[in-house]
Structures are given as C-alpha cells and as structure tokens.
C-alpha cells in the first residue's frame, strides 16, 4: 500500500472537485453516437423502443466524473441549435437518461418526428466538440 500516491490522488480529487465547471471536455476522437433503432425514415405504428448506441466511450450515471464517459440525452423534435456552453436543457423535448439507460420506450403522437442523441458529461454539459448522433426522422402512424 503506497500512501504517497494516494495522498496525491486525494489532493488531485479535491482540486478537481474544487474546479468550478466541468464543461468543454473532449470526447474520445473515434467516439460514435448512433441509433441502434429506429432507423432513419422508419414508419412506426404506435409506441416503440428507441435504442442508443455508443462506441469507444462509456455510459455512466450523471454526476460521475469518469474519463471518457457520459450519459445519453434524447432530443425529440428539437430544432434550435445546442449551446455547448450550457447544460443540455431538461424538458419534454430533451429527455435525460441520467441512470445510464441505453434505451427508452417512446409513445409519440402520430406524425413526423425528429430524434437526435447528445452525449452529456457528468454535469450534463455537451462535450467539446459536441458528440451528437445523426438526426433521424421517423413517422408515427
């Protein structure tokens, strides 16, 4: 049990937690955020499972500040651009998956909808540059 590195670690942790905002973290270079399902252009009847895929980064709980990881945010019918310097909004169109969920059951009203994923860090900030999926359009019958 080497004590000195541990003390250094604790000091580093104390320092990190003291630093104000954890925004603008860089995502892994080869990270890829995508929809496992549904696919772009899908025509769906009723409710459906929406499944999120993430490569080369990990999914973790909100609040956890582990390197190279984040949690999913699903943007439903959002048109306004994402502000990289603000936490990802939380409302009916910005659904947060803070427990590390990688899928959700959606029950959207009939019509065309857009879906897009954004990975947020432990404090809900987008990465820099933002790690987002392709925006897909689906039609609910």
């Amino acid at each position: 049990m080497k004590v000195a590195p541990l003390i250094a670690l604790v000091a580093a942790l104390a320092f990190v937690s003291g630093a104000a905002q954890a925004q603008g973290k860089a995502a892994a270079k080869d990270a890829l955020l995508y929809f496992v399902s549904p696919t772009n252009g899908a025509i769906i009847k009723g409710g459906f499972w929406c499944r999120f895929g993430l490569r080369h980064m990990g999914v973790t709980h909100a609040g956890d500040d582990f390197p190279n990881s984040g949690h999913h945010h699903l943007l439903i019918d959002v048109d306004e651009p994402l502000d990289p310097n603000e936490p990802i909004p939380a409302d009916k169109n910005h659904v947060h998956f803070v427990a590390g969920q990688t899928e959700t059951y959606l029950d959207l009203p009939p019509g065309r909808h857009t879906l897009q994923l954004v990975l947020g860090d432990g404090r809900h900030y987008p990465f820099n540059p933002p790690l987002v999926s392709a925006k897909i359009t689906i039609t609910v019958k």
Binding site: A14, F66, G100
Partner: protein
C-alpha cells in the same frame, strides 16, 4: 456447453455434496460463465506453470469471490468456471471483483503471461443436478462469455434490466447479438470497467482514500471553526487567545452532536458546558422556512393540455402548510453545516438552492424534521398543484394568458432571456401568498413518476407505488418556457442532480 468442457471437476462447494436436493430441480438463476482467453497458447507456453497458476486463481480468487457474493460454484473446467447466484446484482458484482483482481495480478507480469478471463452473465431458468447445471440460460451465458473481450464482463439484457438502476457503473449497449446455436438474438451489454474502477477496485484503497478525505475534511472544518468564532469574537470583544481556545470545545461538541437542535433541546449540564464556547449560529435553533398554512379542499387536478396531465380528476387535500418560497441557499447550508446534506450550496443566501437531486431533497427534509422536531417533508404532487393553483382553475393562476412579470421563465418576461433567479420571491405571489410556484426553480415532490393520472390516489397522498426510478418535478424553471409554468404541468427526472432543480418543503399540521 459440452463442446467446451475439457476436464470437469464437480463443484467443490461443500453445500453441493451435502444437500444436493435442497434446490428445486428447475429454478431461475443468474448464471456467471467465465473462461480464460488464449488458454491453449498459455498452456503451450508453460503447461505446468499455467495449470498451477490457474488452480491458484480459482482457489484464492474465484471461489472466495463467489461465496462472498452469495453464489454457488457449480463447476470448474480446465480453463473456466460456472457459478449461479440468486441475485443478478451479486452475480455482476462478483464478476467485476474477479476482473479487477485479475487486472491487479496481471499488472506485474509481462503481457504474454497474462491470464485474462472473459465473463458472461445471463439470467435464465436452469436445471440443477449434482455438479452441473443445464438449460438454455446456461448456454446463453456461455455464448455471451464467448463473445466477451478478455478482461471484460458482458451481461445479457435480462441481467441489465435487473441491475441498471442498482449497480453504479457504466453499461455499453452492444445491441442484439446472434450467438451460436441460439435462435433468437441476445441483447448484450458490456459492463464498463472504468466507471467502477474507483468504486470497487480494492476496498482497502477505497477505505484509505475515504479516511484521508475525512481527515482533510476534518482539518478544513476545524479551520473554518477556528476562523468563524474568532472573527465573531473579534467583532464584539477583540482578544487574541480566543482564536486558539475556541476551536477545540466546538470541534468536540460538533463531533458528539451532529444535530445541533437536539443538543440544545436535551442538553445535559456537561454538554451545555461543552457547548458554551460555541458560536450562536451553531447552537441557536434552526432558522425554519417561512410556511403558509393552507386550508384543505377539493380541486380539479390535471388538465387536457398534455397527455401526462390526464385524466383531470377531483382530488381532496387535507389542511397542510407549505413553504412560502423555495428553499434558499442559506436554509440549505444549515443542513450542509450540520453535515446532514451532501453539499454546500454556492451563491447568495436568499437565492433558491439548485442542483438538488431527489435524494438530496429528502436528506434536507429529514434533517429539517429532526432538527426542529416537526414533521417537515416534501409536498405530495397533489398538494403542490393545489397550492400552485391558489384556488383557481385557469391555465395559470392569474388567468389563461401568460403575463410579463408573473413568473421567471424563458420568453415569459419582457427581458429576452430569463436568468437564474438571484433570490426567492422576486415575482408576484399567488392567491395563497406563495411565491415561485411556477418558473424560477423546478421543485421535487414526494411522488414517483407515472406517465399519467390513470390509477392515481384522490386523497392528496403521494403516489409512490410502482417503479420509482424517476420522481415528479414541478414548477418548471427559468430555462423552460411558459407551458412549464402552468400549475398542472408535470415532469419527471431520475434521481440525479441538475442545475435547475430545487425544492420546497411541506409540513403536516
């Protein structure tokens, strides 16, 4: 399985031999299958050495880890093992412990000597016989193990569903995988070692880190104590030595009495003596939130504007009191100072506290109730809406149209963008004399989230049945638009912190 087994030892757990029939022949179990990647290469390289190392790992690490997590080793093969657990959570924990220990063991060796396990965990029905188990669930576990990367734990969708909200670590969805000889594709998740690294790597390390952190906190706390009373005393009667003499009795008193109100309420003479040197802020009664007492009543809860607010139904609320304002930073920090809340809030004392999770909110009301000996609690969702409506049934409490200056929400005021509230009560009070019931900060209530009111209680009590991964949050915040300010609007959030989330307290008569 049979194609994989090289030399079968029957499970060496005594229980297996003594009570082979205590288990029902068929049962649901979490199955952990592990085997060593590149075993043949290792054996080719150093047959005897590898064999004895593997036996040692099985004896020193795998068997004790399984026992420690309430599992049962069913069998070991030359390069692998199969164990069953009653609890999926324990099964995955055990798998993580094994992998992390192996990482430690390998760290001192050159890469070609590494023994790396692939571990798969599945939930399924199994047939248990002495020394072996059978069933589809076992096959799937072993297939999942087969596709796992060396050093990783892969779990099936069934296991994931059971543990996702319980075990704090990362899960990467790998999608549906087609596995050998199994017709249906299997949903597979990779358990991420990184997020768990801090949590369960080596307990002794964690404990040590914890102790050092506590020591640091202690030193910091002592420094704060030393500084504050010194300062206060200097203001009234400047005298140097107090700076040295003040801290120790307070530190003692603080250590013995984590809840200041209890100390002052039932203080024995000696405790009082110990507390005499303490600053007023520490022993004085807790500054309670200002409460408005509301008469009970029946109202129409919900609206037809959003699916989540339907069906509209009549709900009767008993008389209760509710905070006039959301809980402020100053009020929150009393709890933080008493070490009963997890963090110290920043900002002006009269700004609403934010970045509060549901658990944080519960900690606060629990502390407040204990410190004041009054039944403070979170409001129920029905109470919150009843209070927010202030006796009205309109879209907003002031009417059906949004009006500037009534609430702090996005695009609701003349100012283009609303800002984080700098203090509570900056906008007009509703007919019940309550401020910030809509806009400002989101406010947690006691209820679990249900997607609509189908089956909700009508007696004003909290609706806590069902899967409670998310709780209801009310009011909308400065970041939300006018739709969210409506008293009937409801939103859900999992138990995590978010910068617009605060709380308001309630009190039963």
């Amino acid at each position: 399985m049979p194609d994989k087994i090289r030399d079968i030892n029957s499970g060496r757990n005594e229980k297996t031999n003594e009570q082979p029939r205590t288990f029902a022949p068929r049962r649901l179990a979490a199955i952990v299958a592990g085997d060593i990647a590149s075993y043949s290469r290792l054996m080719e390289f150093d047959e005897e050495g590898t064999h004895s190392r593997v036996r040692r790992i099985q004896r020193d690490l795998i068997e004790p880890s399984i026992t420690e997590h309430y599992g049962r080793l069913v069998k070991t093969t030359g390069d692998g093992f199969i164990a069953i657990f009653d609890s999926p959570l324990e099964a995955v924990r055990c798998a993580i412990v094994i992998q992390q220990n192996m990482t430690g063991r390998n760290a001192v060796l050159s890469k070609n000597l590494w023994i790396e396990y692939r571990i798969g965990v599945n939930l399924g029905d199994v047939i248990i016989e002495e020394g072996d188990i059978y069933g589809d669930g076992v096959n799937v576990a072993s297939r999942i193990e087969g596709i796992a990367e060396p050093g990783q734990v892969f779990i099936s969708g069934g296991i994931y569903e059971q543990i996702k909200n319980k075990l704090v670590c990362g899960y990467e969805s790998l999608g549906d995988k087609k596995v050998k000889n199994i017709t249906d594709p299997v949903r597979v998740y990779k358990v991420l070692p990184d997020p768990t690294a801090y949590k369960s790597r080596r307990r002794r390390d964690t404990v040590l880190i914890l102790l050092i952190s506590l020591a640091w906190l202690g030193i910091a706390a002592a420094a704060v104590w030393a500084w504050f009373p010194g300062l206060q005393r200097l203001a009234s009667a400047p005298s140097g030595p107090l700076l040295q003499s003040a801290p120790s009795p307070q530190a003692d008193a603080n250590a013995k009495q984590p809840e200041p109100a209890k100390a002052s309420g039932a203080a024995t003479p000696e405790k009082q003596a110990a507390l005499q040197g303490a600053p007023p802020a520490h022993t004085a009664a807790v500054r309670e939130p200002i409460m408005n007492t509301l008469p009970g009543g029946t109202f129409s809860m919900g609206s037809n504007e959003d699916a989540s607010e339907k069906p509209v139904r009549r709900v009767t609320v008993k008389p209760f009191a509710i905070g006039r304002y959301p809980i402020s930073v100053g009020e929150w920090n009393q709890c933080a100072t008493a070490k009963a809340c997890a963090f110290t809030a920043k900002g002006r004392d009269d700004a609403p506290v934010t970045n509060v999770s549901w658990s944080d909110a519960k900690q606060f009301v629990t502390w407040l109730a204990g410190a004041t000996k009054k039944p403070y609690r979170l409001p129920t969702e029905a109470e919150w809406e009843y209070a927010a409506r202030g006796g009205t049934q309109t879209r907003y409490w002031w009417g059906d149209e949004i009006q500037s200056g009534m609430a702090n929400c996005k695009n609701c005021t003349d100012v283009v963008s609303a800002e984080q509230p700098i203090r509570v009560g900056n906008f007009q009070a509703n007919p019940f004399g309550l401020y910030d019931m809509g806009g400002g900060v989101d406010q947690w209530v006691e209820d679990c989230w249900h997607k609509n009111y189908q089956g909700a209680p009508s007696d004003g009590s909290a609706w806590v049945e069902g899967d409670c991964g998310s709780h209801v949050i009310r009011s909308g915040s400065w970041k939300n638009d006018a739709r969210y300010v409506r008293p009937s609007n409801r939103d859900a959030y999992d138990n995590a912190r978010y910068p617009t989330h605060g709380l308001r307290v309630a009190l039963s008569p």
